[in-house]
Symmetry: C2
């Protein structure tokens, strides 16, 4: 156990050095998060497929509950209950486009060194032009259900349910339930509940009221999460534990073009269409997954109907809802319908990341709308949505309720549509006649390998150093 | 799947080259043994502890159901449902004693390359003076429940339930249910049902009658096993499958000085004494394991009472029997008592490897006897046992029934006693007050790691290359 404690202490010290200017001490967060005895009981596991080139290398790590599909290098790290997913890494010869072409001289690797992540998704597909061969996460501590999505990080702290998306962060603190996609940031502190997209041609900003945030994702003095959304995921943790108790599970009935991950929770009446991806640690309970729809890692689809080509991003929660064709639900959104207060989202709607819809009456949002912020009643619809056609007209500034948009609305919509198209393509939603294979086709036959830490001695709680190549 | 087939073909060809003079073709054996589709469903697993230095290196291997506790190197191998146990490997600086001292310049490694083993135990502790740093098994095919016990092998075929013990074999065929401990053999074919110990100062030889052998361990034209002993293990295979279905098992109640392996089958009423070792893949059903007794890999203790310091070697089967203090039951022995025909073995008895006792009436053998061969009735006791005191008197030749002993009886007994003492010591049976730790104390907290082969593509059925260091 001694060496595991030493490892944790070292990580805490390194992150604290990076965050010194903010007078931010990660020690109490880590101390309160990590139950060393519990860490002994978790298995780490990694998935391999014939589609993804691997180079796993875990060294003196505690990597409980991990999930690696592609190349990966993990240093002296403790990654706790994490999903690390390397199936969209760039390969040797690929080009990054940025004014000039930036060709990769070797396969991209995920490198995680001296980092302590807790229940955090790391999804590859980085956009760091400075180190295209290396997706690095250094000296970073990340709290419960944070998403590190294609973002390289150095010396950062991410609060619970925070998301950093397609960017590069250096010595930053991202508050709880904040979503940031802002290119590159240095030495910044992002307030809790901020939803911020910054792009050369537009900017989107929304900030949750403090009382709303406290109600849904609050933190205590040591940054431990509490609130409605945390309670929601906490209540369902037990269902996941069952998946780890049994080696063989009856496969879920699904067409041959669809993948339902063995480590997804699937309960109640389920209907899986063609080209559907249900990722590891997704949660389905009485769900209709229409053709080409997906449920990404840590998403929840409960008593809901997804009509087709629906994207449910990492951590998105859809409850008692009817989702039209090609709706997009962003990271960590919480669509909390009730049996007598269903949520109906029309075709082609874009639900921004970190949106909360939690109504007591039925809510219906027409097709082709952008949806953000906090919708509790029918009245909130007006201040938290806009028709995409109206947004496309914006050329300068738009302020609706607490949301502020500046720049070209049409460019924003175009960029969003392009990204949704890429996500559908990558996930295999457009697979047809052998063309456009994606995760739904490639991830059907993952072999999962399970590793455990030393259970006694100096190295108790750590794993041996493991290197895995094809 | 292609590459797995290629690997098998290559191994078959290599072994056949080694065995050319015997006109022995291993292909039909392998073809009839390996069900490739079934191989996909097996997990390989390896155990790690804080006590055993590891250096696992699996390369292009199919190593289903393996079990490695110490240093190991596996080449381009298919090892199917095997136990490979490296917890008694010699370490750098150790000395082998043989006329002169032979010090080891580095830790001993198990090396298995281009070998296909099937449900075969490989136990370390080799005695090869020529390569003390390497325990090698090359181009070898081994059938169901064969024991490779501290024996280096090259170009060999071992039949079902064969045992090679503390020796070196080159281009040999060992027939089904044969036990050989004969130093070093080159280009030899050992007849089925031979029990043969050759030592500079004595020799022990026994050969089962053909009809008895056919009844207990026969083989068909492609060397697949059949018979009473094979049926016995086959009937219990299902109980093992359950162990692999579930990740967590309630630990068996045992004193803190004893180890009951998580991959042992434990049924019915069980009593575990102090310093007891129940190894992986042992089978206990209504058993009393007295202080310091052990049940080694693939042994079965059913409706039996082991009084204390009992050794049950790999594959030993003890059914409806009462075993006195310090009895030794050798490899693959089959003590098949019945409720109304119990077997009672007195204190200090030595049951030779590959002994069959299968009575219809109660059988009682007094203490301090050597027991061998085939005992079906009371009358057989006379021709298949001898008091150790009487054997100690032998200075030249002794023939009893089908057993022939030549040499010094006292040296034989002394060598056997010494070895039993070493086994008890190694297994932790003599642990007292922190002194004389052994497997019973060191193997209590094994972390088991589970790996699966690729399930699709060219490499289907093979594993990635895995390297594991502390």
């Amino acid at each position: 156990m001694n060496q595991l404690k030493q490892l944790n202490d070292r990580i805490i010290r390194r992150v604290n050095v990076n965050l010194e200017e903010f007078d931010f001490d990660t020690e109490s967060f880590v101390t309160n998060t990590l139950d060393h005895d519990k860490m002994m009981k978790f298995y780490a596991f990694y998935g391999i497929t014939s589609q993804h080139p691997i180079y796993f290398h875990f060294k003196n790590s505690n990597i409980a509950g991990s999930y690696f599909l592609g190349k990966c290098h993990v240093g002296r790290s403790a990654i706790y209950k994490s999903d690390v997913r390397g199936d969209e890494l760039k390969r040797k010869g690929d080009n990054l486009h940025y004014k000039i072409e930036v060709p990769l001289v070797e396969d991209e690797m995920i490198t995680i060194r001296d980092s302590l992540l807790y229940k955090t998704l790391v999804h590859s597909n980085s956009h760091n032009l400075e180190s295209p061969e290396e997706f690095g996460i250094r000296n970073t501590i990340s709290a419960h259900y944070a998403n590190i999505h294609g973002s390289t990080l150095e010396g950062c702290f991410l609060g619970p349910f925070a998301t950093v998306d397609l960017m590069n962060l250096h010595s930053c603190i991202v508050g709880e339930f904040s979503y940031v996609q802002a290119g590159e940031l240095f030495h910044r502190k992002i307030d809790p509940g901020t939803v911020w997209i910054r792009h050369p041609h537009f900017e989107f900003k929304y900030k949750f009221k403090k009382d709303v945030l406290d109600n849904y994702v609050g933190v205590n003095s040591s940054y431990q999460p509490r609130g409605i959304i945390y309670d929601f995921v906490k209540e369902r943790e037990q269902d996941y534990e069952k998946l780890f108790d049994v080696m063989h599970l009856e496969p879920i009935k699904a067409p041959s073009t669809s993948a339902v991950n063995r480590y997804a929770v699937v309960k109640g009446k389920i209907n899986i269409g063609e080209n559907v991806l249900v990722a590891q640690s997704a949660f389905l309970d009485n769900a209709i997954m229409g053709d080409g729809s997906n449920a990404q890692e840590n998403s929840y689809i409960i008593h809901s109907n997804l009509k087709g080509k629906n994207v449910t991003a990492h951590g998105g929660k859809i409850i008692h809802a009817d989702m039209g064709i090609e709706t997009f639900v962003g990271f960590n959104s919480f669509l909390n319908g009730k049996p007598d207060a269903r949520i109906k989202i029309g075709d082609g709607c874009i639900v921004m990341p970190h949106t909360i819809i939690d109504p007591d009456v039925p809510i219906k949002i027409p097709g082709e709308h952008l949806i953000w912020g906090y919708i509790k009643s029918e009245a909130d619809i007006e201040t938290n949505t806009i028709a995409l056609d109206d947004l496309a007209e914006v050329r300068d500034t738009l302020q609706i309720g607490k949301m502020k948009f500046t720049g070209m609305g049409s460019v924003f919509i175009e960029a969003f549509r392009k990204r949704i198209g890429q996500i559908l393509l990558a996930n295999g939603a457009l697979f047809n006649d052998g063309e456009d294979r994606g995760h739904a086709q490639d991830d059907q036959n993952i072999s999962f390998n399970i590793i455990q830490p030393y259970s006694t001695g100096e190295r108790k709680g750590l794993y041996p150093s493991i290197r895995i190549k094809p």
